[in-house]
Subunit: 326 residues, 2 copies
């Protein structure tokens, strides 16, 4: 297997936590890893990992489009080029999400027939496989035909990543009835209800779903535009954070804190974003894993694991076969 | 004070829980209550509460528009007429939300200058006043000028209901920068940033906020279109439900279950939808409180309490003064 290119410079804890995670990934996963970034920033820590040199770093809050256009020697652009040029099998970054998308899109290009790539984010569901939410923020404004492709790609991802045999695909709306929703949902519903829409993806359309269904075992893939998807994702993240902190505060003040918190550890592990392995940008012509900005070394290992699995599953070819060109 | 009209027939637990709650409200709040519904359904239980007769019941899953047009003797339509005709000071229903809105809108009419009424839903925030989210589902498709009015009305509601002196109003988006978002957000942002927009409402625009800010003390009012707002609300409800159940399951299996669950009671009370007092339909020419479908007697008492407070605060006049006609 070609090495997985890890952007050493991206993320709140870069480069230290990223390089540490990259080394752990190489040791634990048995796959070659190559770091991308400034040698002086990683040399002291990189051990025997190879480095693809890149002199520039796109900041977490930089404008994605202009950064990628002007910073041609940035770690993100170089990582995407390594995949394009066959020097890496996949790229992983915890850096600026918009710039990661733009680098992948501009350097790898799209899978033929795909109108727009989408970010597929796994939402943890206690006791079940995660729900794949897409688009989680790549496209703030969408067309109905794009949502059909998101559904096709999401079904492939749920199958390859979580082994769901026939992923249940729902369209996010504000009521289960086909006539409910905004104009985009109303236009998309009949397209997805057409039996041929998901045929090649192996998914099954289960109709409109509501926000309350996302974090349940009622559905495997939830399709929406990138504005609504990003709002739903962040609303859920914020709510979980507030609730978990409140639970810890309340239990921490009791005599039984140790035992109670011990009992909750498996649940926290399920919800821990460092454990989910990151989101995947579906629709570009290569494997691109987006880890969250505050990624720890553990998050990097898990993101590299997903990259490895997606390369081994030949997910790009499976997406190519499942997406109906418009 | 004129009596509060409570729709005895609306809600999953109607009429029993509703009538029980209505009697408790009359006893606890010291305000007159009148039930609206079929006498034969409430007579055995109503005690000395008066009844406005209505022979029809709009089902929870009925189509709102056609039901309200054709069922002129329904409890929802009669409750709204009682407010319009000066026989009740407010209406409360746990019934079909769409039909509640339609009844209120068609019978009470809009406050002069208001383009569209919006549902303002309080989102509990542990340790702080709730965040008011609007529109939580009345208008699936919105115009920028309507969102400005939602912001004005939301600020008045946060002030009158929660005593927030200068409510911080945020525009829900997918990034804090003014240039981020969908076309509606980009068009609305500069309108809200204009100093005169919230002047008469007493609110202060704090810019774009993200989903993760809703359940925090960073903002008092979150403005969005009814599609996004409903998705955010239900995503949060579903996530909370899943997480609370998982916490209870994990703690319930331990030796310290009793003590641990006892410590969490105040948090559960904060999150319990029966305690929030329901949502308010802002922009109609009367007080209309929407309680959730599975309302218990306690939920009805709390909804009636909010109705009483909003009548006493003269909220409709305050909304009228705050909304800039388009």
């Amino acid at each position: 297997m070609l090495p997985i290119a890890i952007d050493a410079m991206g993320g709140d804890n870069a480069p230290t936590a990223i390089v540490e995670g990259a080394r752990q990934a190489a040791a634990e996963l048995g796959v070659p890893i190559v770091l991308v970034g400034r040698p002086d920033a990683v040399d002291a820590q990189r051990g025997d990992l190879d480095v693809i040199e890149a002199s520039q770093v796109i900041a977490m809050d930089a404008d994605p489009g202009s950064s990628v256009r002007t910073m041609k020697d940035s770690s993100l652009v170089r990582a995407a080029e390594a995949v394009r040029d066959g020097r890496a099998s996949a790229m992983v970054s915890a850096g600026n999400t918009g710039a990661t998308m733009a680098s992948a899109l501009l350097r790898m290009g799209r899978i033929k027939g795909v109108s727009r790539p989408a970010i597929a984010t796994p939402i943890p569901v206690p006791g079940a496989t995660p729900t794949v939410l897409l688009d989680a923020g790549a496209n703030a404004e969408c067309q109905a035909a794009w949502l059909v492709q998101f559904a096709q790609m999401g079904a492939v991802f749920a199958r390859e990543r979580y082994g769901v045999a026939e992923p249940r695909v729902g369209l996010l709306s504000i009521g289960e009835e086909a006539i409910k929703g905004n104009p985009l949902v109303k236009e998309t519903h009949p397209l997805l209800a057409d039996a041929s829409a998901l045929e090649r993806s192996g998914g099954r359309f289960v109709g409109n779903v509501e926000g309350r269904d996302i974090m349940t075992d009622e559905v495997d893939v939830v399709v929406t535009d990138g504005f609504t998807g990003n709002v739903a994702l962040k609303t859920l993240e914020g709510g979980m954070k507030t609730l978990v902190r409140s639970v810890l505060d309340a239990l921490g003040a009791t005599d039984v804190a140790d035992q109670a918190l011990q009992a909750l550890l498996p649940l926290y592990a399920t919800l821990d974003p460092d454990q989910t392995g990151g989101a995947m940008l579906l629709g570009v012509d290569g494997v691109c894993i987006i880890s969250h900005g505050s990624s720890s070394a553990t998050a990097v290992v898990n993101a590299a694991r997903v990259a490895k699995e997606m390369v081994e599953a030949n997910v790009v070819e499976r997406l190519r076969a499942a997406v109906a060109p418009l």
